[in-house]
């Protein structure tokens, strides 16, 4: 049986964070079509809830967009009140995409990482 290893999500996907009020959304977009199934299987609502545990979001919702090979995560009440109420230097939560992109994703030992953009 083949072994596995982990790579940071950032090698398989890119994404950005946006805010509206006290709600953050983070997109996770496959860098290559081959990564899509792995991402859908592992970058789940539960995985995202764990990443954001310290923000205590009241709800984590994943929207899957197979056409775009993208997922959109919506994190309710994750911004300490949002841009006008948070005490964070980054009150928009713009840096949060990189909290997500640090998630460890399990890949097969012989996983051949194709770098570069989506063809």
């Amino acid at each position: 049986m083949m072994g596995s290893r982990t790579v940071p999500l950032r090698t398989l996907a890119h994404g950005r964070a946006g805010d509206k009020g006290n709600r953050s959304n983070v997109s996770v977009i496959a860098r290559h079509p081959e990564y899509w199934d792995l991402l859908v299987a592992q970058v789940t609502e539960a995985a995202m809830a764990a990443v954001f545990a310290h923000r205590e979001p009241s709800r984590v919702t994943r929207y899957v967009l197979p056409n775009l090979r993208a997922m959109n995560f919506v994190l309710d009440d994750a911004l300490d009140g949002g841009v006008n109420d948070s005490l964070n230097l980054d009150s928009h939560g713009k840096s949060l995409a990189f909290l997500v992109l640090d998630l460890a994703v399990e890949v097969p030992e012989d996983f051949n990482q194709t770098t570069g953009g989506d063809p």
Partner: protein
């Protein structure tokens, strides 16, 4: 009759955006020669409340403070080339912005510019207090309250021949939907076309965010010549679909990756992106590279628009105090942590947020949950940053005083104290029936 495609360039994506960004966009539109407009989006949620405060102090103020710098370099070329300008830079005072643009046009040799003012968004007046109280469930009087208007008044102004359309609060994508609606003669109920144009506007509304800005990540997302990033231009077709490009002779890039990121930016349910014009649906959308720095967005759908309009109100929100001090070299982290403990001891009346920049900061939370779990290490270049809010200015100022006193009373080697006190505005949103809001346009007098 099939109309020529409409080119919509974006010259600003927020208040504070580069003031030299619009020029290459306008030059590209002028060289292209077809029907075109320039969209300038300068109004974030908070920007409008600040503008409302400025207008209170000076009835002639309250529009985008950088208006002259944004408009003066490009107005003559736009008016001379038939490139119409559509912008929410009117902020809390669209009339005054329009007068100012009229003055600039006169100075530049255009005696009769056709400048339209879109109003109806401002619900700050006493006649709306009861409506707001009912929907926001508070009797507090807001600093400002504005409804997000849609595309229709913009389209009407365009149809009437406006060369410059000045708005206050409108939904950002509507700045693109209005021109497209009028140019192609779409009906207000043509949901698919409005949905497509809405997503074109959505891709444009943040300026460089679709051309490599907010995207570059060296070694992962490399972007050529980001220092000279070009702003986007959408070529919108009669069916509402678009191809995103950018200004000629600029840096940045338009790729499938940049477009997908911006497509989902600040979107919640991709099947229901709500605007005053339409409920846009990108669940069937395709994004295709059709040339160098050219990406097509297709198969967006639209559904009936919401029955209500979103209103955002701002209230006085007390005071935000911030302070920072740096520690470096051996033991820096331990000294920064000691300084934080001292501040917490001396400021029991404030709920302090503590950041150790270089150890744990922006990814953390206001309650210190992540901070408390961060392993104590030996970081050697650490900036302690603390923040707190209080309804009373003097109480907030105590934080600044205590951080400053760390120079002599705190741990060794603390340097570079900076403090700031700012007035806060808190926000609340609600939805009101469309009928409560009357959008209209008038000509500058």
């Amino acid at each position: 009759m099939a109309r020529q495609p409409l080119l919509i360039g974006c010259g600003a994506g927020f208040s504070g955006d580069r003031i030299d960004a619009a020029d290459p966009v306008v030059t590209t539109l002028a060289e292209n020669g077809g029907p075109a407009c320039l969209m300038l989006e300068t109004l974030a949620e908070r920007t409008l409340a600040l503008a409302q405060l400025r207008r209170r102090e000076d009835p002639g103020a309250g529009y985008e403070p950088m208006l002259d710098a944004l408009v003066a370099p490009i107005l003559a070329e736009c008016l001379g080339s038939g490139i119409r300008i559509v912008s929410n830079f009117g902020a809390a005072n669209p009339e005054a912005a329009a007068w100012r643009i009229d003055e600039i046009a006169h100075l530049q040799g255009f005696p009769n510019p056709r400048i339209a003012i879109v109003t109806g968004d401002d619900l700050s007046g006493p006649e709306y207090h009861e409506l707001l109280a009912r929907h926001l469930h508070t009797s507090r009087v807001p600093v400002s309250a504005n409804a997000y208007l849609g595309a229709e008044a913009i389209a009407a102004a365009w149809d009437a021949g406006a060369e410059v359309i000045v708005t206050g609060r409108v939904a950002d994508p509507s700045l693109a939907v209005g021109p497209a609606m009028a140019h192609f003669g779409w009906d207000a109920g043509d949901w698919d076309r409005l949905g497509r144009a809405t997503m074109a506007g959505h891709l444009l509304e943040c300026g460089a965010q679709v051309t490599g800005g907010y995207f570059a990540d060296p070694g992962f997302n490399d972007v050529p010549d980001l220092a000279n990033v070009g702003f986007p231009i959408a070529k919108v077709s009669e069916d509402g679909s678009c191809v995103i490009g950018k200004a000629e002779h600029t840096g940045g890039c338009v790729t499938i990756a940049t477009v997908k990121e911006q497509l989902l930016y600040e979107v919640h349910d991709p099947a229901a992106y709500l605007t005053p014009d339409v409920t846009a649906d990108i669940t069937h959308a395709h994004v295709t590279q059709v040339g160098p720095d050219r990406v097509a967005l297709s198969d967006v759908r639209g559904h009936e628009r919401p029955a209500t309009l979103k209103v955002t109100a701002f209230y006085e929100g007390g005071w935000l105090a911030e302070g920072g001090i740096s520690y470096a070299g051996p033991g820096a982290e331990a000294r920064a942590r000691l300084a934080a403990e001292i501040l917490a001891r001396r400021l029991p009346e404030l709920a302090l947020r503590i950041d150790l920049i270089g150890v744990v900061s922006v990814l953390a939370d206001d309650h210190g949950r992540l901070f408390s779990k961060a392993p104590i290490g030996d970081a050697r270049d650490v900036r302690l940053r603390v923040a707190a809010r209080h309804h009373d200015r003097e109480a907030a100022e105590r934080l600044a005083q205590e951080v400053t006193a760390l120079y002599t009373c705190g741990p060794a080697g603390g340097g570079g104290v900076r403090t700031a006190i700012r007035q806060r505005l808190s926000t609340a949103s609600c939805f009101v029936p469309r009928e409560a809001v009357q959008a209209r346009f008038d000509w500058v007098q």
